[in-house]
């Protein structure tokens, strides 16, 4: 067996959080997995004909239909009695998950297919040149929500795809991060042990789109969690069942400053915007109970 089920030698950028997370996910899922992938960076950098980086069966069809293709894969496995031993992962970027692919994904969740869907959230359409998506955070500068004289970047907050998943009544929903590899793999294993639809939302820094140094990927991923901007939480059967607790939340500036996509926020005129982002982090901490208090 190869060392990793997503082989090296693919064409991802140096420091790509998505390539790291996808490898961790698949290694945790194991070789008896079929991967169904939406169009996006991950599919493009791993499967340039005639090469493939995948050591497990892999299928890519279109940008928005991985969840439906995976439903067909699962139905076929069920029909042939193989669903006990072969598992299905449907994966996509934030755009493929929360925007254009949301309908197919919602259908898959609602139908109760035995599939783990994974969202690699790099907070924009990276494959097509860093355009904003529904999961782009407030005040991010992207190529379609650029900061400028009369704009502080993306005006809308990040869509709460996690709670949208929870609202489908599926048995397991969790968030994870490329900055917490062991936690990520633990959640994949936990998800794979549960029958029915599972959703794993993984925060994956993108050095190209976020404009940070490739060697900062891990650190930046951790800062997103440690500021409260990306809550690491788990829901089982609709109830929050796990959270990564923060002892002393770091100020959001620590996370934002190393990233070029937030550079415009460090001008005097953007002070209010910065404050708003801090409030978003505070609200996350409160909403999900992320603060480690004595006894917790």
């Amino acid at each position: 067996m190869p060392e990793h089920l997503l082989s090296p030698g693919h064409t991802a950028c140096a420091g790509c959080g998505q390539s790291l997370a996808a490898r961790l996910v698949l290694d945790a899922a194991g070789p008896n997995t079929i991967i169904v992938n939406n169009t996006g960076c991950l599919e493009v950098f791993s499967t340039t004909y005639p090469d493939t980086a995948w050591e497990v069966p892999f299928i890519h069809s279109l940008f928005e239909n991985a969840a439906a293709v995976a439903s067909g894969v699962e139905a076929a496995l069920r029909q042939s009695g193989k669903l006990a031993e072969v598992r299905v992962i449907s994966q996509a970027g934030d755009g493929g998950t929360a925007d254009i692919g949301l309908q197919a994904l919602s259908g898959m969740w609602e139908r109760g297919h035995d599939i783990l869907s994974v969202c690699y959230d790099n907070e924009a359409y990276m494959n097509t040149g860093i355009q904003r998506s529904g999961l782009t955070p407030t005040y991010t500068s992207t190529s379609t929500s650029p900061a400028g004289q009369s704009s502080t970047g993306n005006p809308r907050p990040k869509k709460n795809i996690v709670e949208i998943a929870v609202a489908h009544g599926i048995p397991y929903v969790a968030t994870a991060s490329a900055g917490f590899p062991l936690d990520l793999q633990k959640k994949v294993k936990k998800a794979m042990a549960i029958r029915g639809p599972k959703f794993l939302h993984v925060h994956v820094p993108c050095p190209l789109g976020w404009r940070h140094e490739p060697e900062q990927t891990y650190q930046i991923a951790r800062l997103a969690v440690e500021t409260g901007l990306f809550p690491m939480i788990e829901f089982e059967n609709g109830k929050i069942s796990g959270r990564y607790l923060i002892v002393k939340p770091k100020p959001v500036e620590d996370y934002l400053k190393p990233q070029g996509r937030f550079r415009h926020l460090f001008k005097p005129a953007a002070e209010a915007a910065l404050k708003e982002i801090q409030e978003l982090a505070n609200r996350n901490i409160e909403r999900y109970g992320l603060l480690k208090t004595a006894g917790s």
């Binding site: 079929i34 499967t47 069966p57 299928i59 069809s61 067909g72």
Partner: protein
Amino acid sequence: MKDFIEGSEAVARAVCLCKPGVISAYPITPQTHIVEGLAQMVADGRLKSQFVNVESEHSAASVVLGAVAVGQRVFTASSSQGLILMSEVIFNIAGMRMPVVMACVNRALSAPINIWNDLQDSMALRDSGWVQFYAENNQEAADLIFQAYRLAEDPRALIPVMVCLDGYILSHGLEVVDIPEEDKVTQFLPPFNPSEKLDTANPKSFGLLAGPDYYLEIRHDLHQTVKDALTLIPDITADFKRIFGRNSGGLVESYRLEDAEMAIVSAGSVCGTIKDTVDVLRAEGKKVGLLRIITYRPFPEELILQALAKVPMIAVLDKAVSLGASGPIYADLKAAFQGKPGKKISGYIAGLGGRDITPDTIKEIFKQLAGPEVSDQFIGLKN
């Protein structure tokens, strides 16, 4: 067994006999009866399949794509808006060489929204890499289902096939249909056993990115394979005749063309009306005939040239229009006869959105064919 049934039921029963492992579809008139019928068969345990109720046609097509990639025989069906919503996946299925079989119950396209029959929906997808069969009657619609699976899953083909049948006229119209015995179907249609599939014992990647160095060759391969179906289809229909004892399907059908001076070229159920009208006109001494296109993609150009070689005046009756150009079959026919002198080829468009095409419409076309050559003459327009 002979039964007096609508086209939808004929198709559903034929599909049931082919035993697809996964069926997925979304409701749209006039296709719905087919999948409702299949859902009932699954519910009654007569058909042991996974019936996946999806949230859109885009997903229906995607589900069958995923299932066939694992090696299950699959079926879907749609019409009109549903087919057009599927279209992104339709092209993708062909490019990925997935042997999906679907029924398209032909219906007009919006706007204006219209649930009645014409061929604009499937004609819009003629460039997708799918084989397209057009049925004339309910018997043929059912028979083409068996032939579609046989062709799609042939290791030399591995291309998707769309069986088109006219909405309402066939889908809801009752006719006597001979539904074959199961053992004959088993004899005709071998089990689906693709050599390449999603299999953890032999991991392969499907749906790769191909750059300018490879794309041209891959598309050429697909084009060539679709064209090669022209040689597979006659063998399939011959084998069908051997096992089921009737002529059904094929590439084209010539009707009273031997000494014809005028011929109509068309596809689908309207050909029944044309045949009747040809008989009437023949009885009056007029030398007229019909060339029915059964397989529209791949385009059986050679056979068409042969069949019409001695016919000086040809009217193409399209129940579709490439807006701003002409009817699609007309354009193909003109291209086929390009450089061949001594032919008058006129294009007529009729029956859009369910407007009746009657024997009088057909007579009118023959009448106009004697007049000036036209390319996109609408028949039956009200003032």
